[in-house]
């Protein structure tokens, strides 16, 4: 018979981010452990609040599935004497399993024939095995931040205070260091402090909502918040005001409460002169309040608090929060006024005292490197006619000087999340050019996966330069991301470089940028030649890996990318355009006409020496024809590659493929005469070289390999 099951881990208040992490990991652990233990179930769903993580399993089967298991003993040779009688080894093995030697059978393994036995293990009842599984799940649940408490040896995100475990109505009994599972739970800390008894799994949610004043489903808490906000906007504010719903903040607040209540308050008008983005952040940052905008999209004196409770009968809660916000805004206004007394030169000087990273100099040094890097990028873009000559170098220099200055303003020291935003506002106030001010904000973009990208030319170049500089610096300092460890978000930065270059169609050569950036560091660091080469390759591969990751996310073919990289191309936009052209070609044409021809060439020239083709030595029709096609196509291929017309190149290659096939079908490369043979190999090589200008087509995975 199938029943529902529930496990509730009662904890002291979890950090908001760990509620989501716990929900995710607990679900995965349940799936994994139930499957490992051959227990069927319909569905697993985990809920969470700051004080509990609850997993519910629907229709969990009452017994494990039985399984056949093979136990392997000694090899046959060792198990039996020459006369076929069992050795001590065989007897001992049988004995250890409480079986007779006659029960053993031969087992074929990769390492040879062994003796062993197949036994069927009957599935145990779920009541019998669940206690250990649950104990194991709780002890295996590890968080990105864990702690110890009292004398216990278990580590968890916050102390565990109770465990409820029920199969239908029945308690599944186990304990973790003396903390026994039961059918007890607790409701909201202050609204329902008394112990509650869970009658059965079905009534659990309702019990917590009605008696416990707890909504266990984060999605439901979020909906309640949004519905009430909607209602306030429509009915109380007559649609004249709108809550500025920062998605991250909303998700955080949902996990800071067990039951949400929306309260609206206000603050004095005197703070409204603070620039909008700064004011919004001051409202959100410490206190997790939501700002409210008026019809002109300006910040109003209203704000929203999400209370962990159901009501504020005496208006004491909102009054308290209003007092705190007023104090916070007074702080922000104070910092704003203090900052007004200074200018960018003052701040720029102070950057000398801010360490970028130990061993990599100060932020001031970084700004100096950025200037060189930006001008280098601008030069690369000018060369490729993406930018008008020197039109922007003056603004770029200015943006490099200003972009990190806000790090030492009072405002950013107080609200670190405002980096870039404060710099932009202050630059506007001090009369800097609009796109220079914008670039200060944009150079930090994208701040997270899926964030907006820089739009201005200055901002885009600065953003790319800053990210390449940080990536190179961190690689030099041996802070290379591994697995899930990427404390400096270098992967995101590399993705940012690629996405920005693609968006702006900046065909920047990664090789050249990395080389240049490493050289801007090198006067400070001692690096030997070989190490330098090695590190440059590592960084280049690291950045390209992010392009591969972007393709992977879209389920694109990676062999096409490998083929392009095989050509040695390291320019971001070129790689992307080549990818699109080849992908399109592969989808609509028979790419084997290209790839097989190339592979044939490759196989012939493998391990051979070669030089230039001598036209005078060509005698047969098909080799003459191939030679002239290579010469003719060679020109147009080079031209088309320069112009980025990659589909034309592919058409040329198709024609070339036909000629190569004809050549191989009619001409014997391995001619008896050395000179002729060498010349034909040279001809084949020049064909292969032509392909390689676009991609190494031999790396394409072709479905039907038999033709080779």
């Amino acid at each position: 018979m199938e029943k529902d099951f529930l496990l509730e881990i009662g904890v002291e208040e979890l950090p908001a981010a760990l509620v989501d992490e716990g929900i995710h990991k607990l679900t995965r652990l349940f799936e994994e452990r139930l499957n490992q233990n051959r227990i069927n179930f319909d569905k697993i769903k985990t809920y969470g609040t700051p004080r509990r993580l609850t997993t519910m399993v629907n229709n969990i089967s009452d017994t494990q599935k039985s399984q056949e298991r093979t136990i392997t003993g000694p090899p046959e040779k060792i198990a039996f004497n020459a006369d076929g009688s069992p050795t001590k080894a065989a007897v001992g093995f049988a004995k250890s399993l409480k079986k007779k030697v006659e029960d053993l059978e031969k087992i074929n393994t990769e390492r040879g024939v062994y003796i062993g036995i197949k036994i069927v293990e009957e599935g145990k009842s779920i009541e019998e095995i669940l206690p250990n599984i649950l104990k194991d799940i709780i002890q295996s649940l590890s968080f990105s931040k864990q702690m110890s408490w009292a004398n216990y040896s278990i580590r968890f995100a916050r102390p565990i205070r109770w465990i409820a475990a029920l199969l239908g109505k029945e308690i599944i009994k186990f304990d973790i260091e003396g903390l026994h599972s039961s059918n007890n739970t607790f409701g909201h800390r202050t609204l329902s402090p008394e112990l509650l008894l869970i009658k059965d799994t079905d009534s659990y949610k309702k019990l917590l909502e009605d008696k416990g004043k707890v909504v266990i489903d984060p999605a439901k808490r979020k909906k309640i918040i949004l519905d009430v906000i909607n209602n306030i906007e429509k009915n109380r504010w007559k649609n004249n005001f709108k809550v500025f719903l920062d998605e991250d903040l909303l998700n955080e607040v949902v996990n800071l409460v067990e039951i949400p209540n929306v309260l609206a308050g206000s603050f004095p008008e005197e703070f409204l002169y603070i620039p909008k983005d700064i004011l919004i952040k001051a409202i959100q940052y410490h206190q997790k309040y939501f700002a409210v905008l008026d019809k002109k999209e300006e910040v109003s004196t209203k704000f929203i608090v999400i209370q962990n409770g159901t009501s504020d009968p005496n208006r004491e809660i909102i009054k308290g929060n209003e007092r705190v916000l007023k104090a916070r805004l007074r702080d922000a206004a104070f910092f704003y006024e203090e900052d007004k007394k200074h200018d960018f030169s003052f701040w720029f000087g102070k950057l000398r005292g801010v360490v970028f990273y130990s061993g990599l100099g100060s932020i001031y040094d970084k700004a100096v490197r950025l200037k060189k890097m930006c001008l280098h990028i601008a030069e690369l873009l000018e060369k490729s006619d993406t930018l008008e000559k020197s039109a922007i170098s003056c603004k770029l220099r200015r943006a490099c000087k200003l972009c990190k200055c806000d790090l030492v303003t009072n405002m950013v020291v107080e609200f670190p999340q405002l980096q870039g935003i404060v710099g932009k506002e202050y630059a506007k106030e001090k009369g800097e050019k609009p796109d220079v001010a914008e670039a200060i904000f944009e150079h930090y973009l994208p701040r997270f996966s899926g964030d907006i990208l820089p739009d201005t030319t200055i901002g885009s170049i600065l953003s790319i330069a800053d990210k390449v500089d940080t990536i190179c610096g961190m690689f030099l300092a041996e802070n290379i991301p591994t697995g899930s460890e990427d404390p400096f978000a270098l992967r995101r930065k590399a993705s940012g470089v690629i996405l920005t270059a693609l968006r702006k169609k900046y065909d920047l050569d990664i090789d050249s940028m990395v080389n240049f950036s490493i050289n801007t560091y090198i006067d400070k660091l001692s690096l030997t030649g070989t190490n330098k080469e090695k590190i440059i390759i590592e960084i280049k591969n690291f950045i390209i890996a992010r392009y591969r990751f972007l393709l992977e996310k879209k389920n694109k073919r990676l062999d096409i990318l490998e083929a392009i990289l095989g050509s040695g191309c390291t320019s971001i936009v070129s790689i992307d355009l080549r990818y699109k052209a080849i992908e399109d070609f592969v989808n609509n044409n028979d790419v084997e006409k290209i790839s097989l021809a190339m592979i044939r060439c490759r196989n012939i020239i493998k391990g051979k020496k070669y030089s230039k083709v001598n036209a005078k030595l060509l005698s047969e029709e098909y080799e003459k024809r191939l030679y002239s096609v290579i010469n003719k196509k060679g020109k147009s291929v080079k031209e088309n590659i320069d112009k980025g017309k990659y589909s034309n190149v592919l058409l040329d290659f198709t024609d070339l493929g036909k000629n190569i096939d004809d050549f191989f079908d009619n001409v014997l490369v391995m001619d008896g005469e050395d000179k002729i043979r060498a010349n034909r190999i040279n001809l084949v090589k020049s064909a292969a070289d032509l392909y390689m200008l676009l991609a190494d087509f031999s790396k394409l995975v072709v479905e039907n390999n038999s033709k080779m």
């Binding site: 002291e12 208040e13 950090p15 908001a16 700051p50 931040k145 702690m147 110890s148 408490w149 009292a150 004398n151 916050r158 102390p159 205070r161 800390r189 202050t190 609204l191 800071l256 206190q287 608090v305 209370q307 962990n308 409770g309 504020d312 009968p313 005496n314 004491e316 809660i317 909102i318 009054k319 308290g320 929060n321 007092r323 705190v324 916000l325 007023k326 104090a327 007074r330 104070f334 005292g353 801010v354 360490v355 100060s362």
Partner: protein, 289 residues
């Protein structure tokens, strides 16, 4: 409830819960954590339950008495519970009731706030506790002290007395608080706050302080060689405070600042392992209580 009544009530409450009520340490320190009742007692296996008021000094936070709640001198109420009791949060909520906070009509929130003090190699996980948005307590499970991993883990509760009083008295500034029924916080603290702010930022003799630091450090090394742990503890505090004064005077370059922090951390490390060894030698007398 006036300022001194809050202290009386907290002392009474925690005494009832089995804490010894200690008096402040007669030395300058940045927080109640530096008091030996926390700093040293959280180390090793012996249990400890203590509560005390701790006048705390943070020279860089001085604002010449012009900021409503940033001062270079303020009062903490510190509770150390070792090992952390299983019902420690309920105990804490009980203490809020003892100072007249009606939990049902207020929004009490435990917001993640992990605490670290690099100068003494200490780290903990916990929360800042909010009452209707106002931070009133720092609640920390100590994980490390002097670079040593702690077992058992202690719970440290640090009440910001002025903030709690602001909240209870419905005031917008420290200075308006009623200390007793007819004396305000301003009457008691303002003049000294102004003078110390001036001294910390403008007048403190940098050369003398640098000299003191060196002498205190030397004395620390001398007394540790003689196993005078509790004396050594006070010299760590003296070094730490002198460092804070020099910091307020902006006497350090970035590199020097890092160097001095690592000096203090090093002293704290030596101190902690010395204390642990000494208690072991004594046979952990408090385990028998």
């Amino acid at each position: 409830m006036n300022f001194q009544d809050i202290i009386f009530n907290l002392q009474k409450y925690w005494a009832q819960k089995g804490c010894i009520i200690r008096q402040p340490l007669d030395l300058e320190k940045g927080a109640g954590t530096f008091n030996a009742d926390t700093f040293l007692r959280c180390l090793g296996p012996e249990p400890w339950k203590a509560a005390y008021v701790e006048p705390s000094r943070r020279p860089t936070d001085g604002r010449y008495g012009e900021n409503p709640f940033r001062t270079q001198f303020y009062y903490q109420f510190q509770v150390l519970l070792k090992p952390s009791p299983d019902d420690v949060v309920d105990l804490y909520l009980g203490s809020l009731k003892s100072i007249g906070i009606d939990l049902k009509s207020h929004d009490i929130r435990f917001v993640e706030d992990d605490w670290q003090s690099p100068t003494i190699g200490a780290a903990g996980l916990g929360w800042e506790v909010w009452a209707d948005g106002m931070e009133i307590t720092q609640f920390t499970y100590f994980q490390q002290m002097g670079g040593l991993t702690l077992k058992p883990v202690s719970a440290e509760l640090t009440y910001g007395l002025e903030r709690i009083a602001m909240y209870l008295q419905d005031k917008d500034s420290f200075w308006e608080l009623a200390w007793s029924d007819d004396i305000t916080y301003k009457d008691v603290q303002m003049e000294s706050e102004k003078q110390w702010s001036r001294y910390n930022f403008e007048d403190a003799d940098i050369d003398m302080l640098l000299d003191l630091f060196e002498k205190f450090e030397k004395e620390f090394n001398r007394v540790t060689r003689k196993d005078l742990v509790f004396v050594a503890h006070e010299y760590v505090l003296k070094c730490s405070h002198v460092f804070n004064l020099l910091d307020a005077r902006e006497a350090f370059s970035v590199a020097e600042r890092t160097l001095y922090i690592s000096k203090v951390r090093n002293l704290a490390k030596i101190l902690c392992s010395l204390y642990v060894k000494q208690r072991e030698k004594l046979g952990y007398p408090l385990l028998k209580k």
